[in-house]
């Protein structure tokens, strides 16, 4: 008589799952296999469970092609146009929040505590702070809440103590924002969203939030070594356009704060003033003429006193405070002071 004869049928039956997965000790494996030769019920189950194991497979990388979402949605909307579309001005926000959501779903619990380096330009010099992934998400939620308030949505209550809670609070609110934008009436879209130091029309506020979402998603992606790509060229172009439109006011603001030299011969409100020709190359690129002396002045070709050429992603990194203005590898000619004013004003668009 061998020792495993002592194991009752009940115990051997309970081992069948572990046996099928080769997760028993050698003695238990031998005992189960001997039992199978004289217990038909267990033998039948053992065969079934072993077949089931063959259906398991090692989880491959199941990351979806990030471009698939927009292709699938475009296909659907081509077959049946939306009665309540997401307005074009909210499309970059929808795309960027969907991408960050995918990233946050893919990272593990430990990643939520990963240190993230936040960089910005404080007007004079680069600044940085280290925070957790959860704190970044909570920060996005808090600023999105300002826009949500303008749509009459209740503010989200974020908490960075609990990653799942921080993620859900951010995602629920961003979905409510997209929905709110879809149902917003023309009068609502014309309203202005006031942040601390500046205000933006609602469509621009959505664009600004899309830009922030991308920038911070990239911070998180860097912190957890996750591959992340830039927005589509169309969306990137709109983000660059917003930054270019914000520049005249940013330059004026720096002057008021004594951070930039005074304006030249301030022009009458809509007379053409001096301009800088900003040429953005690569993805999302184009040509912009930045009014240098007054936010109200019209800037157009012919009034330019300087020219700056910069890659689109570099320009975004500069505007996000990820690169100090002194290091911007810009091709430049013309008035050096004008070039400096524009590069520093671009960097100062970054904020916490």
């Amino acid at each position: 008589m061998t020792t495993h004869a002592a194991r009752p049928h009940r115990v051997l039956k309970s081992l069948l799952g572990a046996w099928a997965l080769a997760a028993c000790s050698p003695e238990e494996t031998a005992a189960v296999e001997e039992h199978l030769t004289d217990c038909a019920a267990c033998a039948e189950e053992a065969l079934r469970l072993r077949d089931a194991v063959s259906l398991l497979h090692h989880e491959e990388s199941l990351d979806l092609d990030p471009g698939l979402r927009s292709r699938v949605l475009a296909h659907c909307l081509g077959r049946r146009p939306a009665k309540i579309p997401v307005p074009g001005w909210a499309a970059p926000y929808e795309a960027e929040t969907a991408r960050l959501d995918t990233l946050l779903r893919d990272i593990g619990d430990a990643d939520w505590r990963a240190p993230v380096r936040l960089l910005w330009f404080d007007g004079r010099a680069p600044a940085e702070r280290e925070v957790s992934v959860a704190a970044v998400v909570t920060h996005l939620t808090a600023v999105d809440a300002v826009v949500a308030g303008h749509l009459g949505l209740p503010p989200a209550v974020p908490s960075d103590d609990d990653p799942a809670g921080a993620h859900t609070a951010w995602r629920d609110q961003s979905r409510a924002l997209i929905r709110g934008a879809s149902f917003a009436e023309a009068a609502t879209a014309e309203r202005t969203v006031k942040y601390g130091r500046f205000s933006l029309p609602l469509p621009d506020a959505f664009l600004d939030r899309a830009f922030e979402c991308w920038v911070h998603a990239e911070d998180v992606a860097d912190a957890v070594a996750y591959p992340y790509t830039p927005p589509t060229p169309t969306h990137l172009h709109r983000m660059i356009d917003l930054a270019a439109r914000m520049l005249p006011r940013a330059i004026a603001g720096r002057r008021r704060a004594g951070l930039a030299p005074p304006a030249h011969a301030l022009s009458a409100s809509d007379a053409p003033g001096r301009a800088l020709h900003l040429e953005i190359e690569g993805s999302g690129g184009g040509h912009w003429y930045i009014s240098l002396d007054s936010p109200a002045a019209k800037a157009a070709p012919g009034t330019e006193v300087a020219h700056v050429a910069l890659d689109g992603l570099e320009f975004c990194r500069l505007a996000a405070g990820r690169m100090p203005p002194q290091e911007a590898a810009a091709g430049q000619d013309g008035d050096r002071e004008a070039v400096r004013d524009v590069l520093f004003a671009t960097a100062s668009l970054s904020r916490m």
Partner: protein, 184 residues
């Protein structure tokens, strides 16, 4: 995280899709795209074909939101059924263009269907069972170490492994439930 959407969410989603709300379509994609693409990929074993099935499934749901009846079960299962049928139809078309005889095609379809059903079962089973299987299968722990990893007794670890495989073995027995409607 998103496996246990309440029926209310399903009904609400269906209404929003029926109203033609594009924002709802985006939310639907975010919730189910990895399920749809994963199942399609398991049947077809081809990235591009899985992309196309994903496109077709969401196109079908967007065009026919009323084809789903919330009383018959969760939206998730219904979308899995639609995906499965689309993927199998595509597999049959692809195979019948080749040299394979009808019996071989049937066999491939059966195998692929069982594999896709198994994936669905794994993603839908209680997390406690899924984690136990993962430790024993993917991380190759014996059940004693798996028990330690899960913080449960050895008895409980054996029970979970057996129950998990029993659930999984039903993948060989054909569709989970009779299905109606859906694209051909």
């Amino acid at each position: 995280m998103t496996h246990d959407a309440p029926p209310r969410w399903d009904r609400r989603m269906q209404q929003r899709l029926a109203h033609g709300e594009a924002a709802a379509l985006g939310e639907l994609y975010d919730r189910f795209a990895s399920l749809v693409h994963g199942l399609a990929h398991r049947v077809l074993d081809d990235e591009e074909a899985a992309d196309r099935v994903t496109r077709d499934v969401f196109g079908y749901v967007w065009e026919h939101p009323d084809a789903y009846d919330p009383r018959e079960g969760p939206l998730r299962s219904w979308i899995a059924d639609v995906t499965h049928r689309q993927a199998v139809a595509r597999l049959r078309r692809a195979e019948s263009d080749g040299e394979a005889d009808p019996e071989e095609i049937d066999e491939r379809v059966r195998t692929a269907s069982a594999a896709a059903r198994a994936d669905y079962i794994v993603t839908s089973m209680p997390a406690s069972l899924r984690e136990a299987l993962d430790l024993a299968y993917s991380r190759r722990l014996d059940y004693r170490r798996a028990a330690a990893g899960l913080g449960v007794t050895e008895d409980e670890a054996r029970r979970r492994l057996r129950l998990g495989l029993q659930l999984l073995s039903t993948a060989h027995q054909g569709p989970r439930r009779p299905v109606g409607g859906g694209p051909r």
